[in-house]
């Protein structure tokens, strides 16, 4: 109810602000409106600066119909008072909303959300579906529960943990379904979290008319609770062929292999955010988006309507969509990292796994003792290049117990960790890393020293004898060079 103020309050205001004494203010305020009235009668309009314009507008006689009886009758002509506030007054009154601006709406702007809101308010006004709404809320709570741990896990933990969490949540959802018997709302919202959870609880899959999924069509029709569940899975399938395996696997295995299916489903989840978005779309039937394919949506709504489903508010939806996207991206990145680790690292960097390389390694090992006739050099500098190489050379032994020929190599390392190692190990490592050609190139006997000629530098020397720049530091150490950039003409350099 509006609070009414009277002219007295206005005069109080004047008195309080010290513009006039009580008597003056009273007479002034009373006189003010009287004069406005008087002026209206005299001139038909009164213009007051800072307030606005009062005008008398004459309304001509017109005919109307009594809505109850249908009789026609005359409305006699009369005059009415119109008031138009001054711009200054308008602005003052509109102060609270002054920061709003008119916005141009583009073609793409989706106004259906407005309609959705209208619809919802209408529904609320009508007072129908109140229990339904409650269900919806509880479902949202459930959804929240699933949402949070998943997000946290995805943010901090490796993939496996996430899957477990998802699986656990799925199980929890199932329980919830069974216990509370909230058929549609809980069923749709819970699994809506991600396809992983969507796929796992599909124990009673109903045969939605989706030809893509033969597995699902064989399942019983009975459970209305599960009706929305296949739909999250199926759009994903439509969009990615790979995910077709998911349901075919998940449907027969059901709960037996939840983690496996969860894993794959997660992939799908990561690769197809639009599909997910689309699923979200189905849930909030009210707000369609341009991305969504049209035909599946029709079936989806069909399937949802019998279950008497109420949609969710749109802001929540978009928020969750963003979350799902983030989780998906994180999982994808993690998965990629894992894949590249296992596939890439071992294949490329582990020397043992390249077939034929071992043989070179062995050959080299056999060659080395003969080749290492070079004078003994100080031990200290040799250690450093030797140690990093020792690890990869030790690894093949560990991984390949068959190749007994390699045994001497690690054995010899502890025995003679001195100068010979320095010469032997880098060479061995090099063989290991660069296959055949390098091995052949360096196999011919190389001189123990190099006399520096004009135009030589350490890199050239290193390249000449070893075929790579890797041995520059070794040369520097071996010769106790202070400054690697200046080597003098005629200088004799020992070669590692």
């Amino acid at each position: 109810m509006k609070k009414r103020i009277l002219p007295q309050d206005l005069s109080d205001y004047l008195v309080q602000n010290g513009h006039a004494n009580r008597k003056e203010a009273d007479t002034f305020v009373r006189g003010f409106f009287e004069v406005v009235e008087q002026g209206l009668f005299e001139d038909k309009y009164v213009k007051i600066k800072g307030l606005g314009t009062f005008k008398l507008v004459s309304v001509s006689e017109r005919e109307s119909v009594n809505i109850n009886t249908g009789e026609r009758f005359q409305i006699s002509g009369h005059t009415k008072v119109s008031f138009t506030p001054d711009t200054a007054m308008k602005d003052l009154i509109n102060r609270p909303f002054a920061h709003f601006e008119t916005v141009d709406l583009n073609e793409e702007t989706d106004t259906s959300e407005f309609d959705a809101i209208d619809l919802e308010t209408e529904r609320l006004m009508a007072g129908e579906d109140f229990p339904e709404n409650e269900e919806d809320e509880t479902a949202e709570e459930v959804a929240d529960e699933t949402d949070l741990p998943e997000a946290v896990a995805a943010g901090t933990e490796p993939e496996a943990v996430t899957e477990e969490a998802a699986a656990a949540e799925a199980a929890a959802d199932e329980k919830d379904l069974a216990e509370t018997d909230l058929p549609d709302a809980a069923g749709t919202d819970g699994p809506a979290e991600d396809p992983a959870t969507a796929v796992t609880p599909v124990n009673t899959v109903t045969p939605e008319p989706q030809q893509e999924v033969p597995a699902t069509s064989t399942a019983p029709t009975s459970a209305p609770a599960a009706t929305p569940e296949p739909t999250p899975a199926t759009p994903a399938e439509v969009t990615t062929e790979a995910s077709a395996e998911v349901t075919t696997e998940a449907a027969p295995d059901q709960a037996d292999a939840p983690e496996l299916s969860a894993l794959e489903a997660d992939e799908v989840h990561a690769t197809t955010p639009p599909a997910l978005a689309f699923h979200e779309e189905e849930i909030s039937v009210s707000a369609p988006q341009p991305i969504t394919p049209v035909e599946p949506k029709g079936t989806a709504t069909d399937s949802l309507s019998p279950s008497n489903y109420t949609y969710r508010e749109t802001p929540r939806k978009s928020k969750r969509k963003i979350w799902l996207k983030r989780v998906g991206m994180t999982l994808l990145v993690l998965f990629g990292m894992g894949l590249s680790y296992f596939a890439g690292y071992y294949r490329v960097l582990c020397p043992c796994s390249i077939p034929g390389l071992e043989t070179y390694f062995e050959e080299e090992m056999a060659d080395e003792p003969a080749a290492v006739t070079t004078p003994a050099t100080p031990a200290a500098p040799a250690d450093k290049p030797a140690t990093p190489v020792a690890q990869p050379s030790a690894q093949p032994v560990a991984t390949e117990p068959d190749s007994l020929a390699q045994q001497p190599a690690p054995k010899s390392q502890p025995q003679s960790p001195k100068a010979e190692k320095a010469a032997q190990e880098p060479a061995a490592a090099k063989k290991a890393e660069t296959p055949k050609p390098a091995a052949e190139k360096t196999a011919p006997a190389r001189p123990a020293t190099h006399t520096v000629r004009k135009g030589d530098n350490l890199y050239k020397i290193s390249r000449k004898y070893y075929g790579s720049d890797k041995y520059v530091p070794a040369i520097i150490k071996l010769n106790h060079l202070k400054d690697a950039n200046t080597i003098s003409h005629g200088m004799k350099l020992k070669l590692p």
């Binding site: 009277l6 206005l10 409106f33 009164v46 008072v81 003052l92 009154i93 509109n94 709003f100 106004t111």
Partner: protein, 90 residues
């Protein structure tokens, strides 16, 4: 009756110098703007009611360009004459 006429008439009626009346009139309108808000109305006996109405936001379409615009909500001062005033006007 423009502002000047109004001030003069009011000065005559309230027996105050026109300058004071001008000042008071400015203060009064400022006070009205101050006091009136979305849930307050000013009822003047025998004259009418001033009240602030909230107009909801809406979408308008320019018929020529088909450009749609979202008009923000706003507060508008409206005046509704009392029945006494209406009767007098007849």
């Amino acid at each position: 009756m423009n502002n000047k006429d109004f001030i003069n008439a009011l000065a005559e009626a309230s027996e105050l110098p026109p300058k004071t009346v001008q000042k008071l009139a400015t203060q009064l309108t400022a006070g009205m703007a101050d006091i009136l808000d979305a849930d307050t109305s000013l009822a003047v006996q025998g004259f009418g009611v001033f009240e602030v109405k909230k107009k909801l936001e809406r979408i308008v379409v320019n018929p020529n360009t088909r450009q749609r615009k979202l008009i923000p909500p706003k507060l508008v001062l409206s005046f509704k004459p009392s029945n006494v005033l209406k009767d007098k006007l007849k």
